[in-house]
Symmetry: C2
Subunit: 319 residues, 2 copies
């Protein structure tokens, strides 16, 4: 099967209902229209076999996850999904793989009304690179550098189950079947918090998505906003499977697990009801886990308010 | 060196003079503003080691080429370069490689006033994925599906030297040192025809960039425009190194060589002076090589107008 047949068979779709791209796949570039007074939010993520997913990973779930991690970046900016490009390298043109991958990809894309507008396919070690486009009214994006002293720190959903699944799949520890299944759902098919991100515009002062571990990711907000934080470690919302594990695992995986794709955001205490209302409208949960302070650094405290000294490292691809 | 150190050291630059991106590297998304009544042209290309470039390729030239192939897609749409994202997988954090790669990348980016606004770095088999953004006034983009019967077919610059270099480097045939050097410049550091693309807005009916071989790429215009063509094979402008080769090589590499990154475009005969003026303003050459006709397919003729039957295949990554 030729490259052009591949593209035609699995990735060229009929005109999107909203048809925001004036010109989609099949020319040198796609052409995208923007409404007046909006900004385009752009993010790109590359997923590598053996690094971001296991060799032989389920292609349907991989298609889902490849787009989900990009949608999560839009969510973290409070941007509405619009379109994406897909470039990927494949060892060979495997029709069954492509059929499943594209099915998983488009199921999530359709859920978020996000149109595939272009791409590139080539032969090579399996690698998936998606660049995604969303839009926000000018000045309303949720940034990292705008946390304010006194802000509450919040996190959406639950943390740590994806990391728990990863360790079990790597045979670092055993998990019972029910826990493994629940945790694997979080690892393989994360649900980006797009609706929450949109609902938090005008409420949150700052936001990002938790992809490399809460403590490291929160550190980006602190550094860019030139502030510090105190975190109540035992207030972190734990994934259902993680709740059954040891205290050490609960703390470690919720604080520094990675692959959560939840939103961490800050908002003034005066907006607590508004934050809870935003979560309700987005059909998700949010938990208040700390406070932004002037003193640099992150102070961890336990349920009794006592300082905790934990050795934790954020996930780093070249560490 | 950590991922964040890498990004900071080689890829985060001071604010771009024109500062079109409201927010660049360092948040979940970049934010891009567009002027009213413009469309955003978007293209993505993935380059894989051992497939698009040799193992151990010069990183400076690789940085140049990775961006050049994307700029060429903007050129083919008549879009003005604006910004790009860079995602790449590297086997290891090699500082010398990164320094050279980023130098080659930014030298070309600066030449075209194109700003790096975001990216992703990860560990993995060497793979470079750039997504590029440009803009055109609404309705003025140069498309593939708008060639008209009677249009002249034109090509910019010269063809075939990149393919000639590739064959020599693969030891398919010997080349003398001067020819090899000239041909390698075309293979490793193509110069995208951005200025010509902009100058052809309002003149050309259709355009694309020649990346997979002229005859295959022209075929996309023909198919999408539902027309055919006659091509004068011996009128094709040959690269300086290719001019010294056999007739068979001259024809094969100019027609189906690949990696030329020239523009192939069609324009009405009434616009011949305007086309030549556009080329002059862009400081490049253009050559008239054929005509668009109603009958489907591509007819090849020699210098005497006699039909040529050549067996040629466009480059295809999964053929």
């Amino acid at each position: 099967m030729s490259e052009f047949d591949l593209i035609a068979r699995y990735f060229v779709r009929h005109a999107h209902p909203k048809n925001r791209a004036t010109l989609g796949i099949g020319d040198d570039c796609a052409l995208l229209m923007q409404e007046a007074d909006t900004q385009t939010a752009i993010s790109t993520d590359m997923l590598v076999e053996g690094r971001h997913f296991f060799v032989g990973a389920d292609p349907y779930k991989l298609g889902h996850k490849a787009l989900a991690v990009n949608l999560s970046d839009l969510a973290a900016m409070g941007a509405e999904p619009q379109a994406f490009t897909l470039a990927f390298a494949l060892p060979r043109a495997d029709e069954q793989w492509l059929e499943q991958f594209s099915a998983g990809l488009f199921a999530l894309a359709d859920m978020h009304n996000c149109e595939l507008i272009g791409g590139d396919t080539t032969k090579g070690p399996l690698n998936i690179c998606i660049t995604i486009f969303g839009h926000t009214p000018v000045g309303q994006a949720l940034r990292r550098d705008t946390a304010q002293i006194g802000d509450d720190i919040w996190v959406s959903g639950t943390l740590g189950d994806a990391r728990l699944a990863l360790g079990a799949l790597r045979e670092e520890y055993p998990l019972n079947a029910a826990a493994l299944e629940a945790a694997c759902v979080r690892l393989h098919t994360p649900q980006p918090q797009v609706a929450l991100g949109l609902a938090l515009r005008g409420i949150a002062h700052s936001a990002l998505d938790v992809s490399d571990g809460l403590i490291g990711d929160l550190g980006h907000i602190l550094k860019k906003s030139a502030v510090g934080a105190t975190l109540q470690v035992d207030a972190l919302p734990l994934g259902t499977a993680l709740q059954q594990q040891t205290l050490e695992m609960r703390r470690r995986f919720s604080l520094a697990g990675g692959d959560d794709y939840e939103l961490c955001f800050t908002a003034p205490a005066s907006k607590r009801d508004a934050v809870l209302g935003a979560a309700l409208s987005a059909a998700t949960s949010v938990t208040r886990i700390g406070v932004i302070e002037a003193a640099p650094g992150t102070r961890l405290i336990d349920g009794d308010g006592k300082p905790l000294a934990l050795q934790l490292a954020s996930f780093d691809h070249f560490a």
